[in-house]
């Protein structure tokens, strides 16, 4: 069995990193510009962020390739750059942390609605996900992470593409849920139990939630997953929902508050932890301490 998967299924917590997009924005990425451009223009910045997360205690570092699918890149005049963006994103992380951390290849939504609701055909979507998975595998990632999905059909296409084009690598699949009076659903109306079943059938090895409203609900979502699946679980919440403060975007959850939720997450059965939008190396360091306190790392 893959060493990461065997750790996760033994119940051993593994800590990932935090946000990339918001870290890049703080370092000068203009609002509205795609973070993936940094892979080509300032890869050094990616190396620095990777090193900061590694120093904070992250064991898995995510590539800056959330929007590196051809469908998204082509909207920014970066057609045909998927392979190059993925190669640079992985190389920049390795440059900083070598093989001391695992590299997780991020695959985000295509950014358009799938037919029949939207105009994006299933074939175009499948091809885009396959290219991206292939590019990430070729670039040498250790796992693939399909994340921030709302549409189950789209999430399953991405998972199947990773299975096919990145054979042998673990596939993590996480969606973004909101709390409703009837439980947790994605904005497209997908409940946790259905997501667990279909993503599992599509071939995902680790399931869960990322992004969303913050760490408070992350444990509750994880408990809903635990009822629906025996697969290892992942949780990577936002540092709360962003608010605008004097024209600046601010994420309200302090590292300490997020770390205080770690015992809840572990108790809910989550073994792959990390943060999404607004989280920083300080959040990861606080989570590292909380994990180690709950469960001392093997020396």
């Amino acid at each position: 069995m893959d060493p990461l998967l065997s750790r996760l299924s033994r119940g051993e917590p593994v800590l990932g990193d935090g946000a990339w997009g918001t870290m890049l924005q703080e370092r000068g990425l203009a609002p509205g510009d795609p973070p993936e451009t940094v892979c080509l223009s300032r890869p050094r910045l990616l190396t620095e962020i990777a090193m900061a997360y590694f120093a904070a205690g992250a064991e898995v570092i995510t590539t800056n390739t959330f929007g590196a699918s051809e469908v998204r890149l082509s909207r920014h005049g970066l057609s045909g750059k998927c392979a190059e963006v993925c190669r640079q994103a992985v190389a920049a992380i390795r440059e900083g942390v070598g093989r001391r951390a695992l590299v997780s290849g991020s695959v985000g939504p295509l950014g358009e609605l799938l037919a029949p609701l939207g105009d994006l055909s299933l074939d175009v979507a499948r091809t885009a996900f396959e290219r991206q998975a292939d590019a990430l595998a070729t670039a040498g990632v250790d796992l693939v992470c399909v994340e921030t999905m709302s549409d189950l059909a789209e999430a399953c296409l991405a998972v199947e593409a990773a299975r096919r084009k990145a054979p042998g690598l673990p596939v993590v699949a996480t969606m973004t849920f909101e709390e409703t009076p009837r439980g947790f659903f994605t904005v497209m109306g997908v409940p946790v139990a259905k997501a667990a079943r279909r993503l599992g059938e599509a071939g995902a090895d680790v399931l869960g939630a990322n992004c969303g409203t913050g760490s408070a609900v992350a444990a509750a979502i994880a408990r809903a997953f635990r009822e629906a699946t025996a697969l290892p679980l992942s949780a990577r919440p936002n540092a709360g929902l962003p608010v605008s403060h004097d024209g600046r975007t601010v994420y309200p959850e302090a590292p300490r508050r997020m770390a205080a939720r770690v015992p809840d997450l572990l108790a809910a059965g989550v073994t792959l932890l990390g943060g999404c939008c607004g989280t920083t190396p300080a959040h990861v360091a606080a989570m590292r301490d909380a994990i180690d306190a709950a469960r001392p790392r093997p020396a």
Partner: protein
């Protein structure tokens, strides 16, 4: 179609349109709209009691997450089907234009579902709308407003990272000395009244329905300026 009986029949026809719209059934909405008109309802009555009534139910249900995005999209499509029937009767041909509006989603942002709803309702209310689409640079809004002789620019943003672009449009309107003639209204999920004030927007609307009322007031203001 006069008298209390006619009124009841018309009311139930409108309620049926609202229900079909709520269910996202575009064909039913189209047929129901034609039927209501044939039975004597005016286009304005069908719009208000049928289409808008149905859309506001869907909007509220989505706000409470009793329904989800696919339901909103299907309802918006059904609304469009009804509007295709009504527009020739409501438009400038029938009544004088309520004003000219340039509408779009700001730079870097491709969310357009809410913006499209605002556009549909504005057209329904008799405004002449130039929809610039999504990912629209500040420059383009101002140029289009000048070209169209619009008195209102409507900006939509769904990302906290692109909201800032609204400020650029307002700055440009001032820079070009258009502040007197052109008013700017902003909206979209992360946009608040306080943010609108902070960036110097002339108006803010929380949803598509109140956007129409706000735009109406801004057109009147711009006319007086």
């Amino acid at each position: 179609m006069n008298g209390p009986e006619g009124a009841t029949a018309a009311t139930s026809a409108l309620a049926a349109i609202a229900a079909s719209l709520r269910a996202g059934e575009a064909d039913e909405v189209r047929v129901g709209t034609r039927r209501a008109l044939a039975e004597g309802a005016t286009a304005a009555e069908v719009l208000k009691g049928g289409l808008l009534a149905g859309m506001s139910v869907v909007g509220e249900e989505f706000g409470r997450r009793e329904v989800f995005l696919p339901d909103v999209l299907l309802a918006a499509r059904a609304m469009r089907a009804g509007m295709d029937v009504l527009e020739p009767l409501l438009g400038p041909g029938g009544a004088p234009s309520a004003g000219r509006v340039v509408l779009g989603t700001v730079k870097g942002d491709i969310h357009d579902i809410g913006k499209n709803l605002v556009g549909i309702l504005l057209r329904g209310a008799g405004f002449q709308v130039t929809d610039l689409g999504t990912d629209v640079p500040a420059e383009r809004f101002v140029e289009a407003a000048e070209e169209a002789g619009a008195s209102v620019i409507g900006l939509s943003a769904l990302l906290t990272t692109t909201m800032a672009g609204m400020r650029d449009v307002i700055g440009l309107v001032r820079e070009r000395g258009l502040s007197g003639r052109v008013r700017v209204i902003v909206g979209g999920a992360p946009v608040t009244e306080a943010f609108a004030r902070e960036i110097g927007a002339d108006g803010f609307a929380f949803d598509a329905r109140s956007a129409v009322e706000r735009v109406r007031a801004l057109v009147a203001e711009a006319g007086r300026a």
